[in-house]
Structure formats: C-alpha cells, structure tokens
Amino acid sequence: MKEFKYVITDPVGIHARPAGLLVKEAKNFKSTATFIKGEKSAKATALMKLMGMGIKQGDEVLVRIEGEDEEACCAALEKFMKENF
C-alpha cells in the first residue's frame, strides 16, 4: 500500500472537468486509488462520488493506493494532483 497527502489549491476544488480527467488517469492503472477526507472517501474512478465529497480549496486529502502497480499509480496521481488541483 502507498499513500500521499495533498492540499487542494484550485479555487473551485475537485470539480467536474478536471475530476473527469483524474478518473481517466486513475483508470490507466490496475491498482485501486481511494480519496479520503475526514470520514468521507471515494474511489478515484468514481467521478460523481468524488465530486460529492465536496473537496474545496484548502482541504487536505489523503490518497491511498493498493494493487500490483501501486508504485507507478501513486507517482502518476501525485503528479496529476499537483498539475491540476
């Protein structure tokens, strides 16, 4: 299992269009990535659940990755978050 923390800097938070791109990115890997904020969590491949977490600017999210390609998946998602959120 791998994980990383990230603080959202995008003013609208995890919203529709970039969230859709995030889902596409996550689907490139076999591992399961989960976004966790407080008591809420959603798989990185579940667009509307992810949006439904209402993640806003300034929120810290924990991303947990489990699976055979978790190393690569973790690196890719961390890079994606930094570039898009």
Binding site: P11, M48, G54
Partner: protein
C-alpha cells in the same frame, strides 16, 4: 388581440408564428420483465448514444467559442461513465427485473438528490445536469423524436422550461424568440438568451397550448407578448424592430475598432463590473479593461466574513480570464447604503457621511489585510490595479499603501508570488478633488466616482425623489472639480479615469475628452455606443483656442501607456 405579461431577459422584438415546444412526458411502467439481458443492452446502447450526443454538443459549443457551455457538456459525457453512481445502480435495478427506463429514472433521480443536498452552490447546481442526462436517456429509450420538437419553420418558441441540452440543441436559425412559463433569470437558458441576444420572456404564467400556430409579437421592451395583435401594434413594433436591427448592426461594426477621436486622441473604454459573472459581458462588449470591479460582492454574498482564500479565488479568476486587460479592483466599500450583518456596524444618523469604505478598513486592519493579501496574491495572475475608495486625506492613502506594503513583505517571506500592480484612489469627495495635487503624488491613477462626487458637492441625496427638481447631474461645480482633478493628475503623471454614471453620458463625452480624460469606465452595455460617440468627436477645433490640449500623452511615468501599447 390578447396581451400577456412575463419577465423579460433581453430587450428586443420578435414577430412570427408561435410554436409550442413540449418535452415529452413518459409513463414508466413498474412491471417486471423477463429478459434482463435485453434491458441491460438497451440501457448500454442509450448510454453510449447520449454520451456521443453530449460530446457532439461539446464540440459544437467549443467551435462557437462558448467555452463555459462546452464545459457543461464535457462534464455530462464524463458523468455517464460513472460506474459507482450511475451505471452500477442502474444495472442492479435491472437485475431485479425492472425495465431500463425504470432503472434510469430511479438511479439518476437518486444521484440528482444527493447533489441537491450538498452545501456548496457549485455542487448543488450539478443536480440539474443529472436530470438533464436522465431526460436525454429517456428520450432515447422511448425512441422519442426530439429533433422535430422545434418544428421546421422560424417561430417564437413557447415552453414550460428548457434544460441546458434542450436550449443548446435548438436550431438558432429557426428561433425568433423564446417564452417560458417557468425559469429564473439566472438559469442557463436565460444566460444563453442574453449572450445570443434572443428576445426572451420568462415566468409568463399564462402560456397556453392553444397559442400553437398563432401569429404573435414578443415585445421585450414592455415584457409582454401579443397574441394575434391588431394592425396598429404590428406596424408600430415592426418599425421598432427594424430600427433595433439597424442600431445593432452599427454597434457590431464597432467591435475591434480603436476608441479614438477623428483627430487621433485615444481614450481607454473600460467596464464597471460587480463580480466574476460579468467577465463575459466585458469580453462580448469589447471593453479594453475593467475600470471598476466592485469587490463588495465577496462580502455581500457571504454570511460570514470571507476568507483570504475565498477572495483570492474570485479575484484570480477575473484577472486570469481578462488577461492581458487591466482590471482595477476597488477595495471594500461597505457602509452607507450597503450594510452587512457580520460587520456589526452601528446604526448611524447620517450614513453617507459616516463609517464606510477605507474608514472601516483602516479602523479594522486585520479585516482589511485579508483583502489586501488576496489582491496581492491575485496580482501574479494578470494586470491588476488596486483602488481605495472614499479618500479625503493624504495620510489615508499613505496608511493604505503602508498596509499593502506590509502584506507584500509578509507574502514574500512566505514564499508566495506577488506580481506587478498599480495603485489608485477614487476621487469622490470634494476634499479629494481639491487636494488632487497632493494625492497625485501618492498614486498611479485616479478614478472619478461622479455619483458620490455630485451628491457630496451639491449636498443632494441621490436617492431622494423629492430633491429631483434641485438635482443637476451636469452641475458646473462638479464639472469644474472633474476638470481640475484631471489637470492635477496630469501635472504629476497620474492618469485619470471616470467610473461614475456620468462617464456613459453621451452629452458629456466630448467635454471629458476635451478635459483630457485618459479612461472612461462604464457598464459593459454602454461600451460600444460610447465608442461610437468617441469616434465622432473632433477635438481639433479646440486646439487653436487652447494650445494646452496638445500636451498629451501625459502619463508615461508610471507605465500605464507603456504597458498598454507595448
């Protein structure tokens, strides 16, 4: 002839036959079926079709240059890929033996409800997207022919309400005008109607099916629709429509044209805006920048004191979207007629002369610094001007600049980027106008707020109807203060603009240009008419009388012209 009232969205007149647009209402059976695999297959093929449709709408809107609406459809297409919230629940319902139609209704309604219960307004609005997708899915599952709902000839379309995808799918060449029984002025349809300039009436409660095919005139100016109008109404409104068309064509010709007088004097035509939602109007009306961005909306739209991050997000959005245009943001101007609960301001006998604007900000520096930090952070994303309102004394300007500098140093220590910006003040009190020479030494620009300047100079409450006989918006004292402010500014290489209502007054355009004004900031709709006025002015006739007028360009020192023309 019958006349019905509604709420207008766009001024303008539409003349033609009515076509009733009826979205189909579906009866969905709750009975169970045997062939589960077939239902899942029907669902899948509908899903793929709707997704293709949404992608096509995205492409169409991108091509038309409507990035905002395009984004809606791109997100729609992505939502339809969502297994957790849409696809899997639908499949589960179908696995119980329900039809694809039934599954879509249940699962999509569920998802829409979840969004509608969220705290954040942005996410709440997404529930309309899910409903829109549900309807598109049902159209396909029921095999409804939605292509023909609009008819085949040009018509005034009359509907209950229209969803975003319905509105966008309309064939614009067949659309004369739009009337809905429901709808709000902030709905997607209203926004689109405004940007397309369709004559539109919403909340027209008397809409009836038997209007279908009847001849009608939609009069946006008077917020009404005439069904089978009398000949005199037809004549009158046809003439008005022809006149509108001529005027509009003349205005459109002015887009992209320079704002320059016949003798070559340039003036910047900027827009006054109230929030990020007005950015579109700035671009559509070809404004060259924003001369007054009222930051009050961040305070008024919030139940609690807005945070630095909230303010930063709003300012950054506007700066980025309008870059490289200049955007002048006026710092908090609450007090007087704009009061806010969480500020706990005491009731005053005479609020217009009371605790407002920088007077509050300088008394509550922690509150003020949150805004200044947000502005400085946003300055890294565009071309920013920071403007302080209600100034009467030099020390106030120095104090404001001092706090700004403090914030800048703090941000730099925190490693946060700060960009370039200009500093200016509103000249809206006689005191500031008369001390303009000293004040000009402190700042890069002045902006004359003529509404308050007139009220304070003439001692006339601008909201009092009984004072109207005494009010004179062209009072010579006000015009003299404006002229002297412009001259004082130019003596110190401080550029001077006007952002009050007088700036848009066509009878004063020539006078202001003669005075040497560098910028006029007006409501976005006034930009093109004003440009027309400017281009008709010829100042050469004054040059022989007053050689002073040739001393332009006057404000190079602080980079305004340098930056604009570089």
């Amino acid at each position: 002839m019958e006349v019905f009232k509604g709420t207008k969205i766009v001024n303008g007149i539409a003349i033609g036959k009515i076509k009733i647009y009826k979205a189909p209402v579906y009866e969905i059976s709750e009975e169970l079926v045997n062939d589960i695999a077939k239902e899942i297959e029907r669902f899948e093929s509908a899903r793929v079709k709707v997704q293709e449709e949404q992608n096509a709408l995205y492409e169409k809107e991108m091509k038309a240059g409507h990035k905002d609406t395009a984004g809606i459809f791109e997100a729609h297409a992505m939502m339809l890929d969502d297994e957790d919230t849409l696809i899997d629940p639908c499949k589960e319902i179908m696995a119980e033996g329900h039809t694809a139609e039934y599954a879509v209704r249940q699962a999509f309604d569920d998802a829409a409800r979840q969004f509608s219960e969220m705290d954040d307004e942005y996410f709440r609005a997404r529930s309309a997207d899910v409903i829109d997708l549900k309807n598109s899915m049902l159209d396909i599952l029921f095999g409804a022919d939605t292509a023909n709902l609009q008819g085949t000839e040009p018509a005034i379309l009359v509907a209950e309400d229209l969803a975003p995808s319905e509105t966008v799918k309309l064939d614009k060449s067949l659309l004369l005008g739009l009337v809905t029984r429901l709808g709000s002025s902030n709905s997607h349809t209203a926004i689109l109607a405004r940007s397309m300039n369709w004559p539109t009436l919403i909340q027209c409660h008397d809409v009836a099916d038997d209007w279908d095919g009847k001849f009608a005139i939609l009069d946006g100016y008077n917020s009404c629709i005439y069904i089978e109008p009398d000949q005199n109404i037809i004549d009158e409104l046809s003439a008005k429509q022809a006149e509108d068309k001529k005027k509009e064509e003349a205005l459109q010709q002015l887009k992209g044209q320079p704002s320059v007088t016949k003798d070559g004097r340039k003036v910047k035509l900027y827009a006054n805006i109230g929030g990020p939602k007005d950015v579109k109007a700035v671009i559509e009306n070809d404004a060259e920048g924003v001369g007054l961005f009222r930051s009050e909306f961040v305070y008024l739209n919030s139940k609690t004191d807005p945070t630095e991050d909230e303010q930063f997000a709003a300012y950054k959005k506007v700066l980025e979207e309008l870059s490289p245009r200049m955007v002048i943001i006026r710092t908090c101007d609450i007090g007087a007629d704009k009061t806010i609960d969480y500020m706990n301001l005491e009731k005053e006998e005479n609020p217009a002369l009371g605790f407002r604007a920088v007077r509050i900000c300088l008394t509550r520096p922690a509150f003020f610094k949150r805004q200044l930090r947000a502005l400085l952070r946003a300055s890294a994303f565009g071309n920013l001007g920071i403007m302080f309102p209600m100034i009467i004394s030099r020390w106030e300007v120095q104090k404001c600049k001092g706090l700004l500098q403090e914030c800048k140093v703090e941000l730099e220590q925190e490693g946060i980027a700060v960009g370039k910006y200009e500093i200016g003040i509103m000249i809206e009190t006689p005191a500031a106008a008369l001390c303009a020479d000293e004040l000009a030494e402190e700042v890069d620009f002045f902006s004359l707020g003529t509404n308050d300047l007139t009220q304070y100079t003439c001692a006339i409450d601008r909201q009092s109807a009984s004072l109207e006989p005494f009010a004179n918006t062209h009072h010579p004292a006000v015009l003299r203060l404006i002229r002297e402010t412009i001259e004082a500014g130019h003596r110190h290489n401080t550029w001077v603009g006007i952002c009050g209502e007088l700036g848009a007054d066509p009878t004063l355009t020539e006078e202001f240009l003669k005075m040497g004004v560098d910028e006029l900031s007006v409501n976005p709709k006034s930009i093109l008419p004003l440009r027309g006025n400017v281009r008709n002015v010829d100042l050469s006739k004054y040059k022989t009388e007053s050689p002073k007028a040739e001393e332009a360009p006057k404000a190079e020192k602080k980079g305004f012209f340098g930056r604009l023309f570089s």
